[in-house]
């Protein structure tokens, strides 16, 4: 009896997994442009909702010099006062990623950091939410 129940349950879940696996999504990726502003230490909009497998171009206007850091993706982009700065993200991972702001520090560094080892002073100003397709 117990074994029978286990068999039935296993088959149901195996089928569910198979059905899910077969339902592949073949939508093409597109480039999305989004204008955001960072003024008075506030990001507008502070929640960016977007679907995965797209390319996102962020056009950032700011009233302060500094850097925007997208956690998880570890992408850091310089932003300059009264200028439009561009940050490009290939949305290849889903999740909710905090967007942080680092004051000043406009010396040259790689845009794509490999680690988040060194703790720096940062303020979380928003979230990039990448939803699955």
């Amino acid at each position: 009896m117990k074994i029978k129940i286990f068999k039935i349950t296993s088959i149901i879940f195996l089928l569910t997994f198979l059905l899910y696996g077969c339902s592949s999504n073949s939508e093409k990726s597109t480039v999305k442009e989004l204008n955001i502003s960072f003024e008075n230490m506030k990001l507008t909009p502070n929640i960016i909702n977007i679907e995965e497998k797209n390319k996102l171009n962020l056009n950032v206007t700011s009233d302060i010099d500094g850097k925007l850091h997208i956690h998880g993706y570890n992408i850091e982009g310089k932003i300059s006062k009264n200028k439009i700065s561009k940050i490009t993200i290939n949305l290849n991972a889903t999740g909710s990623f905090p967007i942080a702001f680092h004051v000043g520090s406009n010396h040259d560094e790689d845009d794509n950091h490999n680690t988040e080892k060194t703790p720096r002073k940062e303020t979380i100003i928003g979230n990039l939410i990448v939803n699955p397709k």
Partner: protein, 476 residues
């Protein structure tokens, strides 16, 4: 008087070491999980209800008790004494002790940043979360890997040449102590995990050293086997979790692995010895803590904190969570067992609670896996660069020091489907175990079915709570 002073000084020093200078709740590590959408939550909750009553119907029509499943032995004593195992066994033991020593050393002399130090990710992500996921699937392999046990066995067999300490100690274990040492140490452990400064490498190493020395001392006092069964919280924890797994690892009187057999998943849980009331308390604290670990990352808990922290402070507020949630669990379970007692009029509420307690474990295990599936796959990768640079000195021994985390390793949709399926499966297993345990204590099938109705409501509530927690956005 002197003893009291010593106690006060020790307590103050201990609290100073463990006071969080920077909060890294629940081990540590940033999480990027997306909460499961409402539809997934509703489907999951609906499925738990449907399966509950479907199984109850199946059990109702069951005419006789189930046949025993014969566990095929895959490795017996003779095989385990063969040459390959004579090499593998010391290799496994040496590796386990090496990693254990490395964890302690890196904590003492390595970088103080938890992400740059081997100890914190190894303890909180690989051992606590990772082993907590693998053990219920495979079985209690902690029995083989436990480094403190390996060190103690080596000491008594090869250095002091008194192997009797594996079974008997200098004193008989006091009956009054029961399993209170594991209750006390688990509360402390969960405090460090959720509230204290447990992710700080130095604190972690100090705590591991204290725990290891205390464990070895108690093994000498009461015997290794007795202490592992009643006093060592992690051996007891992995024993329960491992009973869920497909491999049954049996050890002989000298605590050497003598047999490994296959068994049906989950059913090992039904074969665990019926515990006493203090063990039930431990188990409820365990279940409550697993749920609190997730609950404390929700916005609901954030609101509680906003309300209480100004008056009580962060530490007391978070410490309250560790006490309050298991207490609420206990009250709820006790009420349900009283209702079963009133309906069935056959067994006392104490007999019912001790017999049915393990049947809630699959839901807790399922929740643990569902909650941490993305965490272990993404944050668990932190260990890859640390293998090359365990102390955080800038080494690159195996060329992996510059490894960057692959955050796309698991898609949110895959995580959602897996989580819901795992939680529903956990619920089904719980219903089956509860039925098996109820069959053991009640005389007739009709009474068994009656007894299961209130318990089913509790299990549905517990599974729905698990689903609800993973449907909430994580507050880092």
């Amino acid at each position: 008087m002197m003893r009291n002073k010593f106690l006060i000084i020790s307590t103050i020093s201990f609290l100073w070491i463990s006071t969080p200078k920077k909060i890294y709740a629940h081990g540590f590590g940033e999480r990027y999980d997306l909460p499961i959408p409402l539809t997934f939550f509703l489907i999951g909750a609906g499925l738990t209800i449907i399966f509950s009553f479907f199984l109850l119907l199946l059990f109702y029509n069951q005419k006789e008790k189930a046949n025993e499943f014969k566990s095929p032995i895959i490795l017996n004593q003779n095989t385990l004494n063969n040459i390959p195992f004579k090499i593998i066994k010391p290799f496994i033991k040496t590796t386990s002790v090496f990693i254990f020593v490395l964890i302690i050393l890196t904590g003492y002399i390595g970088s103080n940043n938890p992400i740059e130090n081997f100890s914190a990710p190894m303890i909180w992500i690989i051992w606590w979360v990772g082993f907590g996921i693998i053990t219920p699937i495979i079985g209690n392999f902690w029995k083989i890997l436990n480094p403190i046990k390996i060190i103690f066995s080596f000491m008594v067999e090869n250095i002091i040449k008194q192997p009797k300490f594996l079974n008997t100690g200098l004193f008989t274990y006091p009956k009054q102590l029961d399993v209170w040492p594991i209750i006390f140490s688990f509360l402390l452990f969960s405090w460090f995990e959720n509230v204290g400064n447990g992710s700080n490498p130095l604190t972690l190493s100090i705590l591991i050293t204290i725990y290891s020395l205390a464990t070895i001392t108690f093994m000498f006092l009461f015997g290794c086997k007795t202490w592992l069964e009643r006093g060592d919280v992690f051996s007891v924890y992995y024993h329960i979790m491992g009973s869920f797994g497909i491999f049954n690892i049996i050890q002989n009187q000298n605590l050497k692995t003598s047999q490994i057999s296959l068994r049906l998943p989950v059913l090992g849980l039904a074969k665990l010895k019926t515990p006493n009331l203090p063990f039930v308390i431990f188990h409820i604290i365990l279940l409550g803590t697993i749920s609190f670990d997730g609950l404390s990352e929700t916005s609901l808990w954030s609101e509680v904190e906003i309300l209480l922290i100004p008056g009580l402070g962060r530490m007391i507020t978070e410490s309250l969570g560790i006490i309050v949630i298991p207490t609420l669990f206990f009250i709820l379970l006790w009420v349900i067992c009283w209702i079963i007692f009133i309906i069935t009029k056959e067994k006392t509420p104490e007999t019912i609670i001790t017999s049915l307690i393990f049947s809630l474990t699959p839901i807790a295990i399922a929740y643990h896996i569902a909650h941490f599936i993305s965490y272990i796959l993404i944050t668990g990768q932190l260990i890859i660069p640390l293998i090359s640079d365990p102390f955080g000195y800038g080494w690159n021994i195996f060329g992996t020091a510059n490894y960057s985390l692959n955050i796309g390793i698991i898609n949110a949709k895959t995580a959602w489907y897996s989580s819901v399926i795992i939680i529903v499966l956990g619920h089904i297993f719980s219903v089956i175990i509860a039925h098996i345990k109820a069959q053991e204590i009640f005389s007739k099938n009709s009474i068994v079915i009656k007894s299961q109705l209130p318990f089913l409501i509790l299990m549905i509530f517990y599974s729905a709570l698990s689903l609800w927690i993973i449907s909430q956005p994580i507050i880092n």
